[in-house]
Symmetry: C2
Subunit: 343 residues, 2 copies
DNA sequence: TAGGTTTGTGCAATCGATTACATAATTACA
DNA sequence: TGTAATTATGTAATCGATTGCACAAACCTA
């Protein structure tokens, strides 16, 4: 009853061979119109569904692509995945999701099981950079399985990547704060082993330098990307002498925490203190005191990542393409950094 | 160079047959310890990776599970998927993501391609209810492919589902508004063909009834789940005579829009007007005027959906299990519906 | 030492679809 | 009418792993 009909069943029904059925179904020009029609009709009648597994085994293409992210329940990653899925579905690919939870072992496991599953490519945002990881990732490259990094990448020969210009994002956000009149801008950064945070930090420093403002290392805190971390950072920042009058946070969540803490302490935003976040999380624009933030165009990033993969998989040359796409960050300037400047 | 080593390669290297290699790798007790060790060592040396496609074709199990959602970039669905992935990964399953974008044709397409790909099960939140869809979904059941609905389900024999008690959620939220002293509570609902909205609506009406408050059809609007829809609804609600003094919205986004519009019109929340949302989106607790909302425990829903699938797939009896899991909604009462009651 | 077990491997089919090559049937053309 | 060209289909191998059955060797047991 839940028997699946195969081309053999169709063949038997029509007293022909499976080869003919296969050819008819694949529009092979060598098949007569009569037979083709007969096969198609019978296939429909018998409710035939192609078995992709068999096809994949034969062709060596699974039509599956693995996507590895730290977690899926973050607006950013979910949006990237949406972009990837929308771009790959029309091309006949299925998207397999793997989460690492920022755990190195899981990342290694995921890569390994994806390779076992014969995925046609791996699109990933790395969680961790370590020797062992390097080894496994290099393995993917050696196996000639297209690998594309997005957002959180890793410097590797022969690996394409799609990122945003984090340095520019950090630069522009900081510049905005400076233009608003902030003189002592603090920075909340993240795990420095990840390029994204390092680059945002560099952008921040470059902006200070370009504007002739001093760089004060005491104003830079490495925090987790959550609300509490932002609150705690403010707690410590306000105890400094002099305290800062602005924050560029690499995380919207930390920026929110900072704002909450500042408000509780009676600091007026943006009049006395400006805040700029990063990530353009939905809540940043929903707040009554909306939060300025750098948009990473995750949807576009996902689409682009998928496109780079498609280019790579359809590339028949023996020369490997190494493509580095860098998207431009976009500033969303909102109330948290908008003083009414009259000058 | 990117040649993949197969069990035949290992067999050749050791001058034995592939059958023996396969058995050794699968810890078949009929293999001598000497051979087993030799095979394992050689496999490691040759960097052998099992080809899951071949294995799947033979066994008829792909170890892939398809998850169909309207969209992935929503906090709710992303969290459910997180739960599903975390529960299924340890069991050796991969999760394939499909989005329908609420488009019926795409839903049909997705189901179809997932079946072609020989997934071991389909977990879905339906986008649409139509004749054609019924047909395709029934097809899944007939093929004996485990099918589980989550959140947005459909009444179908033999299909398990995991939902929350939406009626109870609507009831409790409305009750809360009543307890706060609201006398004329409006309701923003969604597509009535979806059970979830219908049930929340029913819960709302039941709460009114139980409390002896009149039900006024003019106070019920069907809206899209976005901010603008909430604003427009308030625009119309306030023109009624008498206008309502509270809103229970089936969507957090509409609730947010409603609040924004009310504030702009100078209506004080929660003093003059209370609002209760549904979904417990992250922003609801981040707002300065935090929004009361019904939590759907999406993570738990995802986990439970995966568990029900596992039970079903591991069930060897011929009797089909039809399991209906209903999770309890949890109220998160926040400022938007918290008057300081002294009585 | 003959006959019966046990143990470890090999043989070959199977899962379902595809395709190079072979071949039969038909048509074309001189 | 005979031969070449064309057309449509069949044969069988292949993708990689698994497994029922067969079988040889070694080990027991009376």
């Amino acid at each position: 009853m839940d028997q699946k009909t195969t081309i053999y069943d169709i063949a038997k029904a029509l007293d022909i061979t499976a080869a003919t059925v296969s050819r008819a179904l694949n529009n092979n020009p060598k098949i007569s119109e009569v037979t083709r029609k007969l096969v198609l009709e019978t296939a429909a009648k018998m409710n035939y569904k192609q078995n992709r597994l068999a096809q994949s085994l034969r062709s060596g293409k699974s039509n599956n692509v693995g996507v590895i992210v730290p977690r899926i329940d973050s607006n950013f990653f979910a949006s990237v995945i949406r972009g990837i899925e929308e771009e790959l579905r029309p091309e006949g690919y299925h998207v397999i999701i793997c989460q690492t939870n920022e755990d190195e072992m899981r990342q290694i496991e995921n890569i390994s099981t994806l390779l076992n599953a014969q995925v046609d490519g791996i699109l990933m945002s790395i969680s961790n950079v370590s020797e062992e990881n390097d080894h496994v990732i290099q393995n993917v490259v050696d196996k000639n399985v297209p690998l594309i990094f997005f957002d959180r990448k890793k410097k590797m020969d022969g690996v394409s990547s799609v990122t945003i210009n984090d340095l520019e994002g950090g630069y522009l956000a900081t510049k905005n704060l400076i233009e608003q009149g902030c003189k002592r801008i603090a920075h909340l950064t993240g795990d420095q082993s990840l390029e994204i945070y390092d680059n945002r930090n560099k952008g921040y420093q470059k902006a200070l330098l370009d504007s002739g403002l001093p760089f004060n290392p005491d104003y830079v805190f490495q925090v987790k990307s959550n609300v509490d971390a932002g609150r705690q950072a403010v707690d410590r920042l306000l105890s400094l002498n002099p305290p800062p009058d602005g924050i560029f946070s690499s995380s919207d969540f930390a920026a929110l925490g900072a704002i909450q803490e500042l408000k509780e302490r009676g600091v007026r935003i943006p009049e006395e203190f400006c805040v700029f976040g990063f990530g353009n999380e939905p809540f940043t624009r929903f707040m009554e005191l909306s939060i300025s933030s750098v948009d990473q165009s995750p949807l576009e990033m996902g689409r682009m990542t998928a496109k780079v993969f498609l280019e790579q998989i359809n590339n028949t040359d023996k020369i490997k393409i190494e493509k580095k796409v860098v998207l431009n960050p976009e500033l969303h300037i909102r109330k948290s950094s908008s003083r009414n400047l009259s000058s």
